[in-house]
Subunit: 242 residues, 2 copies
Amino acid sequence: MNHNDLKKNELTNQYYYGTDQFLVAVDCMIFGFDLRDEKLKVLLFKRLVEPFYGEWSLIGSFVRSDEGLDDAAKRVLLELTGLKTVFLEQYKSYGQIDRDPGARVISTTFWSLIKIEELDLGLIESHGAKWFTFDEVPHLVLDHKKMLKDVKTLLTKKVRYQPLVFELLPEKFTMPQLFKLYQEIYQRSLDDRNFRKKIISTRLLLRLEEKDKGSSRKGAYLYQLNRERYDELIEDGFDFDL
Amino acid sequence: MNHNDLKKNELTNQYYYGTDQFLVAVDCMIFGFDLRDEKLKVLLFKRLVEPFYGEWSLIGSFVRSDEGLDDAAKRVLLELTGLKTVFLEQYKSYGQIDRDPGARVISTTFWSLIKIEELDLGLIESHGAKWFTFDEVPHLVLDHKKMLKDVKTLLTKKVRYQPLVFELLPEKFTMPQLFKLYQEIYQRSLDDRNFRKKIISTRLLLRLEEKDKGSSRKGAYLYQLNRERYDELIEDGFDFDL
DNA sequence: GCAAAAGTGTTACTGATACACCCATGA
DNA sequence: TCATGGGTGTATCAGTAACACTTTTGC
């Protein structure tokens, strides 16, 4: 920020800002992995108020003068999902003059990865929210579709360098679930033997004695994330090209 | 953005925004590689106006109502460097309540990689600007030091996955120059034989017949960037872990 | 002829790919 | 006993890491 645009009040000899002011909003994209149909989904909202009544949009809010951008995003996420400690990261700000025909609004976007099963379904329904696969995403208000597309691209790229996928899985998960999630994100089929070797070599996983018999008679071993190793790889990055 | 915060004028039956407004600024970080001392540097500005007279800061400006965020960043960069077609990317927005004690300002940061030798030195001096190595960076106003630190970290990470370094080199450059640049960014010494093999295997380089005799009697071959391959790797990413 | 920087190759090892069958269980 | 999904191993190939000497040329 540059204060060249300050003006001086010659009476009080004090400086004041003579420049334009803007409405500032945050918009959140919430992603989840639905273990039932093994699809990556995004949570969208049917607007129940004017303007844009009945249209789908991201969830957002104007920023208030008593909160920072990150606070506003956390507030929105909490109100909607009841979740506090989730992966939430700031992405770009969108500030095209004409992005909102109603008023000049600068919007800072955030994206969040959550564990779908931790979500209170009643809470999201009461907010008019619904999970969509990316094929099903309807028309969205303003430039929300562009925002979503940009963040989806970012997610796909980031997953290659950071083990973010674990934010989308429950505490205990099976190898086939993890495998399906990677296939879903990369949008192609992978060799499952090589996948197992590679993911095991990252030392991110801890195999439990328990099995999950939910999807087969034989049952699949449950795994847990090695949290220290996770933090290490989030920080340092890894190459998980498949 | 969510329009729940809209208020309705019961007389006109029209909606209007009743929420808080903010000053919005852009702040730019400009990086260059100085071929003379083979150091990565950042361009900083000595403020010649109040407030913060005489202190160092990033270059920035308030956003005007007739321009988008990206436009504002381009304008700042153009005014300062005279450069139009450079690498310029948006990074985070900073919106802590108390980040600017003078007023509530939301600042969107941008970072740029430029070829130092394309810069008009007179122009930057007249703006009170100076190149600093990262060891030499002085105290900066507001949260600019934090911004710089965050972007520096981002740059170091990104360089591993995208061939961004070429934005910092002239059209024609030598292998030793490229090698020194990588060492400078990664902050460690690399094996030069393996480095050559690896960078050549990316097919990013085109070796010219000319030699640059600026730094040795023998002379070093000049290389040019293979632009198509560059675009491809910027898009798809590569793993340049060394 | 020597100082200073540029350029080059081989071997050993590690990780990646490609590929097909047996296992455990409940119905 | 059979259908379903889960789990495993090996051989080949490609890429990485470690390592030291020769070349060029202006002074």
